[in-house]
Symmetry: C2
Subunit: 157 residues, 2 copies
Amino acid sequence: MQTRTAELDLEVSRIIRAPRDRVWHAWEDPERLAKWWIPHPIACRVVSLDMQPGGAFVTEMSENGEPFVPHLSACFLDVIPRERIIYTNALTGGWRPAEHGFVTAIITLSDHPDGTRYRAQALHKSRADREKHEELGFHEGWGTVVAQLAELVEIEA
Amino acid sequence: MQTRTAELDLEVSRIIRAPRDRVWHAWEDPERLAKWWIPHPIACRVVSLDMQPGGAFVTEMSENGEPFVPHLSACFLDVIPRERIIYTNALTGGWRPAEHGFVTAIITLSDHPDGTRYRAQALHKSRADREKHEELGFHEGWGTVVAQLAELVEIEA
């Protein structure tokens, strides 16, 4: 059902040396999510994390102590605890169409001998959107926050 | 979770004099759906009707015997058999962002003393989009096809 193509999609993948439960908990707990969701030292505030289909996913950011501004406004599409999270910024909470959506994210957690295999895929509507997302720093951005997630949960071991 | 507002949304509602099962069947059966989904005499072809979250919903139309052209390319978001269907054209099958999406539809079926209460709501991101959809003939279009649906299932009584 989810057809992914190299031409339209981007992906970061990482082995996290911590059990799947702990990685999941760093997602579902707003306090924990705020610690790794945006590249440091930018501060993150989790405004809504309603992890069910149609639930709102809203985060804000603040640089250099300035007031918080919008970071992400999205809608959860599918959530399988400890296994998969799908959300899109093409919709907002309650599945309402969004103003400037361009990506659907699929996060997959699976067991790995060293802990957890964490995979984040970004689906776009066109090659142009994929290229733009790449130029905007997809790999640095998503790569950095997944590294921050790993650091957070590995330290708890 | 679904916040609806008069300012952003449009709605058609109708009492259909047929049991809920029959109305549902006219939705889930591609052959039946094709009979009422587009205002007559335009012909409808159901290309994909994968009624599950993430499933593709694709229909085509043909006027005056001309070749079929795209009519709708959408993604099912939530399906509760005999009760509710939610889809959006802001996404395509597999939850991939779409090119020109602007609406999420929520179809609700409930029991009524005379048969079935059928409600179709259209959620937009902005007042401008709602007004544009109205000008494009929302009430005539959606009203007509719901009347066609009623005619189809009432005749089977």
